[in-house]
Every structure is written in structure tokens, then in C-alpha cells.
């Protein structure tokens, strides 16, 4: 089954990429963008068919490698 792991900079952690994107959107004339945060999405295809078990495994993967929990938070969804 497929899972999506979304990794985002934690609140309060400087996100210069998000800031640069916000600036560029302003330059393009998109007004009213209050804030932009940029993260990444990692798609996993796993053999496990039990959603709870697959999710638990993905969370373990996120804690150990996919995210650096000092600076990033993550969220796991089944796709």
C-alpha cells in the first residue's frame, strides 16, 4: 500500500525557502499571501497491507531518517 509522509519545517524554525517563494509570489502579483512554508512529500510503497501497521512503520521511518525532528515535523497519511 502507498503512504505519504509530509515533512515540514517546524513552527518557529526559520524557513528561508518559504520566505523566498512568498516574495516571488508577491513579485508575480499574487497579493494577500500571508505566509508560505516549504517542505517535502515522500511517497512510500510498502508490502504491508494493514493500514495501522504500515502507518506505524512509516512513522518509525520518519523519526529515524525521513525527518530531522529537531527542525522538522512530519505527518503520515495512507494514500
Amino acid at each position: 500500500m502507498k503512504l505519504l509522509v509530509t515533512v515540514m519545517p517546524k513552527n518557529g524554525v526559520l524557513d528561508p525557502q518559504g520566505k523566498a517563494i512568498a516574495q516571488a509570489l508577491g513579485t508575480l502579483g499574487f497579493g494577500g499571501v500571508n505566509d508560505v512554508r516549504a517542505g517535502k512529500v515522500i511517497e512510500l510503497d510498502v508490502a504491508e497491507t494493514d493500514p495501522a501497521k504500515a502507518r506505524a512503520a512509516a512513522e518509525e521511518m520518519a523519526r529515524k531518517l525521513l525527518a530531522n525532528t529537531v527542525i522538522e515535523s512530519f505527518r503520515v497519511e495512507t494514500a
Binding site: 519545517p9 524554525v13 526559520l14 528561508p16 525557502q17 525521513l66 530531522n68 529537531v70
Partner: protein, 233 residues
């Protein structure tokens, strides 16, 4: 001094590091590929050099931190062995959990390739023994992700325990926002482990160790390491 430099795919400063270690110690360090699982017998210093290991995939240093050799590096650290990480090596140490915090994209989003000035915040360690506290020295830097981050409690602990090794300062030795080109928390350029046996920093002292390189400002770090090992021998 028996030093081992770990080489990952994408490491590019290992020869600079070899020159620095050889110049200070008179001995050629071992070069070890990341697939090795053991350090040479009697290794007393492990160096994780700069570069762009694994193309900075996922996060700088994240892939290298999982390399086969890192279990041996961790065991060496657990035994109280010396570990130095410079630039990407610092990033790898952080990703491996050997040092606390994180290294974010530079606050300006720019890759910084220029000299900086560092101030020695903690003297009397294996890495800083040849400097006085408060001494400043020039060091080249070349990184895109050197913006040191840690939560306030961790920063307070690092400061309280004297584990901040180096800070970015201006020409007068003052901690200023302008001197802090990458935006690091509290101008931190390098930190130490609680037992003072591990040090990670972003700038490259190994690139100023010979008049031919334009100066010898970084040489005291390597002489300090040689001296500290001679004392314990």
C-alpha cells in the same frame, strides 16, 4: 597521531584535511571509504571532512550518517575517541546524533564562499588548546546549509556547559549580526560534545594551514589535536 579521514561519495575536502593533519603531525592519515566497517587499529582521531556527501539528498549529511562506517565511528566516540567534523562533516555528526541541533539553509538562501572570522569561546580542549579564549582567527567557509539551529533550552545548555567552541565575529572580535553570514543561532560556528572529545564546525580551518594557501590561521586546531594526543600518550 593516528588519524582516519572518512570519505563518502561526494566528499571533496578530504585531501585538504590530509594536508592539514600531515603538516601538524608529520604522519599521513588513513583514508577510509564509507563502506568499511572498522577503523584502523589504534585510531585516535576520526575526521569527517567537508563536501556534499550523497549530493545532499534528503538533508545534508542524512545519508552519510547511515553509512556502514558510522557504527564504528559511533563506537569510537563512545570510547571517548576524538572526532572532528568540518562543514559537511559537522552536518553528518548532527544527523548521526553525535552533536545536538540542526543545520538549516543559510538565512540569505545564498551559498557562502568567503572568509569568516571565528572567536575561540572555549580554550583548553583537544581542538582549541593552542588558542587563548577570545582569540580570533580567519577561516574560509563554503556552504549552503550552515545556519545552526537548536531550541532555546539546548542553546542555553550548550552555553551554560561551555560547549560553544567558536562564534562568528567581526574584525574587532565582536559578535554582530553582520558577522553571522549564515544566520546561525547566537552566532554559533562550532560546538563541542559534553566530554570535549568531539567538535563540529562549519568553516574550514584545514584550508589555511600553509603560507601557500594564504595563511596558517587554521593550523593551531591541528597542532592542538597533536598536542592533546601527545599528552595522553
Amino acid at each position: 597521531m593516528k588519524a582516519a579521514i572518512i570519505v563518502f561519495p561526494g566528499t571533496n575536502r578530504e585531501r585538504d584535511m590530509k594536508i592539514a593533519l600531515e603538516r601538524a603531525s608529520g604522519h599521513a592519515p588513513a583514508m577510509l571509504f564509507h563502506r568499511e566497517t572498522e577503523l584502523p587499529a589504534g585510531t585516535d582521531l576520526v575526521v569527517l571532512p567537508g563536501g556534499f556527501s550523497y549530493g545532499d539528498y534528503l538533508r545534508c549529511g542524512a545519508m552519510a550518517a547511515q553509512s556502514p562506517i558510522m557504527a564504528a565511528v559511533r563506537a569510537h566516540a563512545d570510547r571517548g575517541g576524538l572526532v572532528l567534523g568540518v562543514c559537511n562533516g559537522f552536518q553528518i555528526m548532527i544527523e548521526a546524533g553525535l552533536l545536538p541541533g540542526g543545520l538549516l539553509r543559510n538565512a540569505t538562501l545564498r551559498f557562502l564562499s568567503m572568509d569568516c572570522r571565528m572567536r575561540v569561546e572555549r580554550a583548553g580542549t583537544p581542538f582549541t588548546g593552542r588558542w587563548q579564549k577570545g582569540a580570533t582567527f580567519r577561516a574560509p567557509m563554503a556552504h549552503g546549509d550552515g545556519n545552526y539551529f537548536a531550541d532555546e533550552a539546548t542553546l542555553d545548555r550548550l552555553e551554560g556547559e561551555g560547549l560553544v567552541a567558536f562564534r562568528y565575529v567581526d574584525d574587532r572580535g565582536e559578535v554582530t549580526p553582520e558577522a553571522n553570514r549564515n544566520g546561525s543561532a547566537r552566532n554559533i560556528a562550532g560546538i563541542l560534545s559534553p566530554n570535549l572529545r568531539m567538535c563540529g564546525l562549519m568553516p574550514h580551518p584545514e584550508d589555511l594551514v600553509d603560507p601557500l594557501m594564504g595563511g596558517e590561521d587554521g593550523l593551531p586546531m591541528f597542532e592542538s589535536l597533536v598536542e592533546s594526543l601527545a599528552e595522553t600518550a
